[in-house]
Amino acid sequence: MIRLILAGLLRRRWQSTATILAVGLGVGLLFAAVLLQRGLQQGLELGRQRLGADLLVVPATAIVDPDRALFAGSPLNVYMDRGLGDKVKAIPGVRRTETQFFTQSLRLECCSVDTEIRLVGIEAGVVSRLAAMSREGVPSLQSDEVIVGGRLLGGVGKRGSLVELLGGIFKVGFRLEPSGTALDYSILMPIDTARKIAGKSEALQFLWKEAGRPENLISAILVEVESEGDIPRIAEELERIGPVKVIRAGETFQRFKKLTDAFILVLAAAGAITAIGGIVYLVSHFASVAWDRKGEWALYRALGASRSRTVAFVVGEAVVLSGSGAIVGLPLGYAFFCWGLSRLAAQNAFPFVPPSAELLAVAASLAVVLYVLVGIASAAVPAVKVARLEPALTMAQGDID
């Protein structure tokens, strides 16, 4: 049986190759689309978790790109009085606040990429929140320990590794998972340590002359509220506490999410269209092949193949074709996905979670199973039709040698 199938496929070499490629393309695109879409969706969710705040308060003079700030805090050397943090806490309906101190950006010139590493001081509460999202996470940091972003210190960023920052030696507390956000290129440290470093920096002295000692300053306050309904009121009250700017997480996040959702939708639609196009092609292809070759099927019937054997034979051929197509398609799709990933990662504000092994397996089997099922279904109908006919009548119509 297998031998007959393979011989038939080899004879129609070009036709078989075209089918396998068509299936491969369909499977590949579907696979890549599923991976990209899931990655984006998970990235968004992760971003939402990392944000951990409903409102972000920054100095009024800060020019902040809200989308970036949402995922990584304010990346600017603009400061406000530490006391504002207490005022924020006092507002009714505020459940929790976290203050941040942005030290400075280090320019990393390595490997032909030009990246800024942000040094940010964070409160103890943030440490435990980030720790919960990292496999190696620990709930608190010593004053000389830092959290490194997911794309920094690749192989050497293990817990306890030493790093030199602005002349000081620090230990790695843990490393974050890559998230496709500015956090990937951030180094987070206890807020007091961050202030100390900033205070000592020659380059930043002019700032402190103007704004006061860093010990009394903060650069951003993350605010979590009791209930979402209170956000507009609290945002208004926050604007009244001093010269600050309030960024509503919900708002910007929603805006950002809508944009991404639209993108995801387009991606899903493109995937669906290729899938449907591929499926329509396959259905017509298998149907016409099975029909064109009814003389051959009838010959097998005449020589003793039962109806069910004949159907199994026709369908088996479709399975071999769609299965080989799927095998060709998976690496193709993965390559396409990697290309897409590299494009997305180039814009590091874009949250993207690389796929887990499970997601890879699920997406791959989804694409393969779908196409193999389509192959089976589209070959089965004409196969059953041919098998029902009396062999002598079909053979008289079929064109075989």
Binding site: R3, A7, A302, S306, D401
Partner: protein
């Protein structure tokens, strides 16, 4: 009643295509080791009858008994098994699978039966016996019609079925090739196969134990109906007697 030696029997078989009645009332009984020839003008329904006997076509009415079973009541699986195990059919148009080399073509019934491996050596010996020993790996399109007929013959024999049905096996062949095939076929009853052969060739037909003529949808003894020669008979006369001329020679593979 169907006795142990009555393997294949048609009773009151009728078949029409559209409004044309092709077979009106066909009765036939073939026992193992017998040879039967069926002659008749073109379009008289010889192929239709052979197809019905080989379970490739169902009669509109009447019964076909194979090895003691009335076949119209059998399931598709059982009919398929009978086709595979009981009949070796040599189609008028050889019907070889173009994608398969000669040896695999011969093995198709065995592949279907699931005994491809076990029949390989036997298939080889059949091909060798038919003078095609050096053509095992050729594709059908590389062969002449006479060679393709012999491949089809080997395929019909590969499972050693009790019945060989051959539909005009010597047609379109020069007398020498036709004679080779005829001799091979006529040797089959001695090896235990029953042979049903449809032919226009009077000389070949006359070699059979039972000679039947299909006329107006009814089978008759050829001796009775041969008073007025049919068109086919005159054609056959022109072709001499190829069978007699090659008797005693061995099969070979020369073009």
């Amino acid at each position: 009643m169907v006795s142990a030696t009555t393997f294949l029997e048609a009773r009151g078989v009728r078949r029409s295509f559209g409004t044309d009645p092709i077979l009106r009332d066909v009765n036939l009984c073939i026992r193992s080791g017998e040879s039967v020839s069926i002659t008749g003008p073109s379009g008289s329904g010889k192929t239709t009858l052979l197809s019905i006997l080989a379970l490739l076509l169902k009669p509109d009415a009447g019964e076909v008994w194979v090895a003691g079973s009335e076949t119209s009541s059998l399931s598709d699986r059982e009919r398929s098994r009978l086709r595979n195990q009981f009949f070796g059919y040599v189609f008028q148009a050889t019907h070889l699978v173009g994608s398969l080399p000669v040896l695999d073509n011969v093995l198709v019934p065995a592949l279907i039966a699931g005994s491809g491996r076990g029949r390989r050596d036997y298939a080889r010996s059949l091909l060798a016996g038919l003078g095609l020993g050096n053509r095992e790996n050729h594709l059908p399109h590389m062969l002449s019609l006479g060679q393709r007929r012999r491949v089809a013959l080997a395929r019909a024999l590969v499972l050693e079925p009790p019945f060989i049905l051959a539909d005009e096996p010597t047609n379109d062949l020069d007398p020498r090739r036709a004679g080779q095939i005829a001799e091979f076929l006529l040797g089959l009853p001695a090896r235990g196969h029953a042979l049903v052969i449809v032919t226009h060739d009077r000389a070949l037909a006359n070699e059979a134990d039972i000679r039947l003529d299909l006329h107006d949808g009814v089978l008759r003894d050829a001796a009775e109906s041969s008073d007025e020669p049919s068109v086919d008979e005159t054609e056959a006369a022109v072709l001499h007697d190829p069978f007699a001329r090659v008797r005693g020679t061995t099969l070979d593979d020369q073009q």
